[in-house]
C-alpha cells in the first residue's frame, strides 16, 4: 500500500521550485572547482533569476543605451572624465563613442577575469576568454585609437560585413580608397577577404565559434558580462521559430540594403537613390542601434546574454548557414550516457535544447551554436564534446554530401516533429 504521507503530497508543478527558500551564504558546495558547481544557487539569485536585482540591472543597462543614442548630453560628465585618456591615446578629444568603447572594453576585461576564475579547470573556456579579451582590447579598442592618432581611418579589423554593414557600402569604400596612403586600400581588401574568403574557410574548419566566441566583440561581451545570465534564454520551440524568422529576415535586409546602395552608386545615383539611403539609415537605427544595443545588451538580465547574436546578427546568420551545411564542427554525444538532466539546455545561451539531441544519442549540428562549450563543461556525465573531426556522413547520418543535407532539411521542414525529424 502507498503510505498516507505520499497520498497527502501536494507538489505544485506550476510554481514548481524546490530549492531551499533562502540562498545559502556558505559559498560553493562540495563540488569545489568544477565548472558545474559554479552554478550553485543560480536560480535563487535575484540578479541571475530575473529577481528585483535582475530587473534593475536590465533597466539600467537599457537606460544607458537609450541615453547613449538619444540623449548623449547626459553623458558629457563621463566623456569629460575620460577625455585625458582619449587625448593620450589618439590625440583627439573624447566623445561618447570613446566613452562607450572604454566601458565596453572594461566590462569585457573585468568580467573576463571573472570568467577565467569561474572556469579555471576548463582550458577551452580559458583560452576562449583570453581570446575575446585580446581581440576587444587590441583590435576593437587600441588599434582604432592608434589609427586615429596616425590620422588614418578609424577601422575595426575584428568586425566585418554584414555585422558592420558600412564596411562594404559604397560611401565607406570610396572614403577608404581615397584616403591618403595605402592603409585605406588594405582595409577595403581586408574587409572583403574576411567577409567572403575567411568566413567560409574558417567556419568550415572550426565552426562559427572561431568568430562568435573567440573574436567578436558582441560575443565577447555576452560571454563575459553576460555569462551570469546565459540560463535565461528561452528554449521553447516558439522562440526557435521566431529566431529563424527574425535572423534570416535581418540578413535579407542587410543584403538588400547593400545591393541597393551599390546599384544606386553604379548608376550614378539615378536608381533607388532616396530609397537605398533611407533603407540604410533605417537599418542603422532599428537594427544597429535599437536591436543590437538596447535590446541586445540592455535585456541581458531578462532574456539572456545572446539576444542580438541569436535573433539579430546577420553575420551569425551567414556563419550559421556555413556551420550547418559546410562545416566539420559539431557537438558529439557520448553514446547512451545522457540522463536528460537538462544542465546543457539550461546553460545554452543560444536557447538550443541540447538535451533533445543528447538524450537520443545524436550529434548537435545547429546553425545557431556559437561553440561556447559551456554545455560540455556543465554536463555532469561528460556526454558532450565539441569536435571538428570525422566525416560529413558522421555529422549527418544518411547523407554524405552537404547539399543532400540541405535539400533534406528544406524538404522535411514542414513535417518536422517535436525535435528534428523523429516522430
Amino acid at each position: 500500500m502507498i503510505d498516507a504521507r505520499t497520498l497527502s503530497y501536494d507538489f505544485d508543478e506550476e510554481a514548481g521550485d524546490l530549492g531551499p527558500e533562502t540562498r545559502p551564504s556558505s559559498g560553493p558546495g562540495f563540488g569545489g572547482g568544477h565548472a558545474e558547481s559554479q552554478n550553485d544557487g543560480v536560480f535563487f539569485g535575484s540578479m541571475t533569476a530575473r529577481g528585483v536585482a535582475g530587473w534593475i540591472a536590465g533597466l539600467l543597462l537599457t537606460a544607458f543605451y537609450v541615453v547613449l543614442y538619444w540623449w548623449p548630453q547626459y553623458l558629457d560628465a563621463g566623456v569629460g572624465l575620460v577625455d585625458p585618456l582619449a587625448r593620450g591615446l589618439s590625440g583627439q578629444p573624447a566623445d561618447r563613442w570613446f566613452l562607450y568603447g572604454l566601458l565596453y572594453t572594461g566590462a569585457i576585461l573585468v568580467f573576463g577575469v571573472r570568467m577565467l576564475r569561474k572556469y579555471r579547470h576548463v582550458r577551452y573556456e580559458q583560452l576562449r576568454t583570453l581570446s575575446v579579451m585580446f581581440f576587444q582590447l587590441g583590435f576593437a579598442f587600441l588599434i582604432p585609437q592608434i589609427l586615429k592618432a596616425l590620422n588614418e581611418p578609424e577601422y575595426y579589423f575584428s568586425y566585418f560585413w554584414p555585422l558592420k554593414p558600412e564596411y562594404l557600402q559604397p560611401w565607406n569604400v570610396d572614403y577608404l580608397l581615397q584616403h591618403p596612403g595605402r592603409l585605406g586600400v588594405f582595409m577595403v581588401v581586408w574587409g572583403a577577404v574576411m567577409s567572403f574568403v575567411a568566413v567560409p574557410l574558417l567556419t568550415h574548419r572550426f565552426g562559427k565559434r572561431w568568430y562568435c566566441s573567440w573574436v567578436c566583440g558582441c560575443g565577447g561581451l555576452a560571454e563575459t558580462l553576460g555569462d551570469q545570465w546565459r540560463q535565461l534564454s528561452s528554449k521553447s520551440r516558439l522562440s526557435w521559430w521566431i529566431e529563424r524568422v527574425v535572423i534570416y529576415g535581418v540578413l535579407v535586409l542587410v543584403v538588400l540594403t547593400t545591393a541597393l546602395l551599390w546599384i544606386n552608386y553604379s548608376s550614378g545615383g539615378s536608381m533607388f537613390s532616396s530609397a537605398s539611403g533611407a533603407l540604410a539609415k533605417w537599418y542603422g537605427f532599428y537594427i544597429g542601434a535599437l536591436f543590437s544595443g538596447v535590446v541586445g545588451v540592455g535585456f541581458y538580465p531578462i532574456l539572456g546574454s545572446r539576444v542580438w547574436c541569436r535573433f539579430g546578427c546577420p553575420m551569425a546568420a551567414i556563419l550559421g548557414i556555413f556551420q550547418k551545411f559546410f562545416s566539420r564542427f559539431r557537438i558529439r554525444t557520448n553514446g547512451g550516457q545522457c540522463m536528460s538532466c537538462g544542465n546543457c539546455s539550461t546553460y545554452c545561451e543560444m536557447g538550443i535544447d541540447v538535451r533533445a539531441y543528447a538524450q537520443r544519442g545524436e550529434n548537435i549540428v545547429r546553425a545557431s551554436c556559437v561553440g561556447c562549450g559551456i554545455c560540455s563543461a556543465v554536463c555532469p556525465r561528460g556526454v558532450l564534446q565539441l569536435s571538428t573531426d570525422g566525416s560529413f556522413g558522421d555529422r549527418y547520418p544518411g547523407s554524405e554530401r552537404p547539399l543532400d543535407a540541405l535539400i533534406a532539411t528544406l524538404a522535411n521542414a514542414p513535417k518536422q516533429g517535436h525535435y528534428g525529424t523523429e516522430e
Binding site: T6, L18, F30, G32, F43, Y124, G336, Q385
Partner: protein, 427 residues
C-alpha cells in the same frame, strides 16, 4: 485499445514513446501521482542546489504530450483490479485498461532501524522527498547520511551546499567499495574527506534518537558514537517499489517477475524498469537493473512488446556513469563483477584525480573504468562486445578519447604505464 502506464519515469515514458511509434491510433495514458509531466530523476539534486528549476528538468516541452496524443493523468494509483482490468485511484474514479505497464520504479531502503520513521528522517528518490528535504533543512545545522552509494554522495553535496555539516556513515571499508575497485574507491574517499565531509567508514546506523516530539535529534552508530543532527538521510540503496502489487496475484520476487518481453504472470500486465526483475530462463541469476539507462532501454522494449512486436530484451554491454562531487566516473563492461580469472591493469595520475582501469580475463578485455577522464561509449562497447584483446585496447585507447578540446591528454601516459604492467605480467 487503451494502454495505461503507471509511472511517468524514464521506463514508463520510453514505453509510451515506443507504443506511439508503432501504434498511432492506440490510446495511451501515463498515470503518476508524483507529477503530471515526466522529469529527469537524476536532476533532483540540481533543483535543490539552484542549478535548474523543476521546469528545466522536464526533457520534453509540455506540448509534446499533446502532440504525441499521450494522456497525462496526475493521480495516485491505490490498487490494481486485475479481474476487472482497471486501476483504483486515490479520490478518483477507477481507470480501465486493456493492457497495463507497471513502471513504478524504486523505493529507498529502510532496514528496520529504530527511529527510521521519525520526522527529519528521509530518503532521496522523488519530488516528494525533495519537497520534504526543503522543509527538513530549513532549520538544519548538522545532518547524518546513512549508506554510501551514489544517492548518498549526491545528498552530501546538496546538504553541504546548504551550509549543513555532514557526517557520512558508510558500512564498507571505503566509499562504495562493494562496486568500485579499491583504488578508485580510495580516490573518492579521499576526495570526500578533502572537501570537508566527515566520512566514517565501517560504520553502521544503530538507531536514531527522538527529540521527544517525534523528530530526529541524533544518530547513534554501531560503535556507540552519538552524532547530534536535525536531518538523517537514508541512502542505503533502493529496492523495487512493489506497493501496488504486494497484495495482488502478480508474482514478485525482489521485483515484479517478468520474462524478457516484460510480461508478468498475469495476462495484459507488464512491468519494466527499476521495479521489474527479469527471470533468467537458464536458471542463472535474475536480472534486476536500477539505473537510468536500463530503465530507458527496458521501457523502450516493453513498449514494443506491448505494441505487438516480437522482442526480447538484451541487456547488452553494461555501462554507467556518475559524478562524485567533481570527479567524473564512467564504467563499461564488467568491472567489480568478480568474474573468475579476472585481473586488471590500472593507471592513476600521480597528482590529478584521473585513472584508467582495464579488466581482463587472460588477454581478453571485459571491462573498463575511467576516473576523471571522458571516454567514448561506442568504442568501449565495441571492444568489449567483440572480445578485444588487451593489446588491441592499449593500442587504440586514444580512439575513445572524449576529453574536451585543449584538456590535458593522458592517453600516452596511461598507455605507457598499462603496457609496462601488461608486459611485466606476460614475462
Amino acid at each position: 485499445m487503451h494502454i495505461v502506464i503507471i509511472g511517468n519515469g524514464i521506463a514508463g515514458v520510453s514505453a509510451a514513446q515506443s507504443i506511439r511509434r508503432l501504434q498511432p491510433d492506440w490510446r495511451i495514458t501515463l498515470v503518476s501521482g508524483e507529477s503530471t509531466f515526466h522529469y529527469s530523476r537524476p536532476a533532483l539534486m540540481y533543483i535543490y542546489m539552484g542549478h535548474m528549476r523543476y521546469r528545466d528538468c522536464k526533457p520534453y516541452e509540455d506540448s509534446y504530450w499533446t502532440e504525441q496524443r499521450i494522456d497525462l493523468r496526475r493521480a495516485w494509483v491505490t490498487g490494481i483490479d486485475v479481474a476487472n482490468q482497471r486501476l483504483e485511484l486515490h479520490e478518483d474514479q477507477p481507470l480501465p485498461y486493456d493492457k497495463l505497464l507497471i513502471a513504478t520504479g524504486s523505493k529507498s531502503n529502510k532496514f528496520g532501524w529504530p527511529g527510521q520513521d521519525l520526522e527529519g528522517v528521509q530518503g532521496l528518490y522523488s519530488l516528494m522527498d525533495l519537497k520534504l528535504l526543503q522543509q527538513n533543512t530549513r532549520e538544519c545545522r548538522r545532518a547524518v547520511i546513512v549508506g554510501g552509494g551514489l544517492i548518498g554522495i549526491e545528498l552530501a553535496e546538496m546538504l553541504h551546499f546548504q551550509g549543513i555539516d555532514v557526517s557520512f556513515l558508510v558500512r564498507e571499508k571505503s566509499y562504495w567499495d562493494n562496486v568500485l575497485p579499491t583504488e578508485e574507491s580510495a580516490m573518492v574517499s579521499a576526495l570526500i574527506r578533502k572537501r570537508g565531509c566527515d566520512l566514517r567508514t565501517t560504520t553502521s546506523l544503530d538507531h536514531i534518537e527522538d527529540n521527544g516530539s517525534g523528530r530526529a535529534s541524533a544518530v547513534v552508530t554501531d560503535g556507540g558514537d552519538r552524532i547530534e543532527c536535525q536531518v538523517v538521510g537514508l541512502t542505503a540503496g533502493i529496492s523495487p517499489n512493489l506497493d501496488l502489487v504486494a497484495e495482488s496475484s502478480i508474482a514478485t520476487g525482489r521485483g515484479i517477475l517478468v520474462d524478457r518481453g516484460f510480461r508478468t504472470n498475469t495476462d495484459n500486465i507488464f512491468a519494466a524498469g527499476d521495479c521489474a526483475e527479469i527471470v533468467a530462463e537458464d536458471g542463472g541469476r535474475n536480472l534486476l537493473q536500477q539505473v537510468w539507462y536500463t530503465g530507458k532501454q527496458q521501457g523502450a522494449v516493453a513498449g514494443e512488446v506491448i505494441a505487438g512486436e516480437s522482442r526480447s530484451y538484451d541487456p547488452g554491454i553494461w555501462y554507467n556513469s556518475a559524478r562524485f562531487l567533481d570527479l567524473e566516473y564512467q564504467t563499461y563492461g564488467q568491472v567489480g563483477f568478480r568474474v573468475p580469472g579476472e585481473e586488471s591493469l590500472y593507471w592513476q595520475h600521480p597528482d590529478a584525480a584521473q585513472a584508467v582501469r582495464v579488466v581482463h580475463v587472460d588477454d581478453r578485455v571485459i571491462g573498463l573504468n575511467f576516473m576523471g577522464l571522458r571516454f567514448f561509449h561506442p568504442v568501449a562497447e565495441g571492444w568489449i562486445g567483440a572480445g578485444a584483446s588487451v593489446d588491441e585496447v592499449l593500442a587504440g585507447l586514444h580512439e575513445g578519447n572524449f576529453q574536451p578540446e585543449f584538456a590535458p591528454q593522458r592517453d600516452a601516459m596511461a598507455v605507457q604505464s598499462l603496457r609496462a604492467q601488461w608486459k611485466g605480467r606476460a614475462a
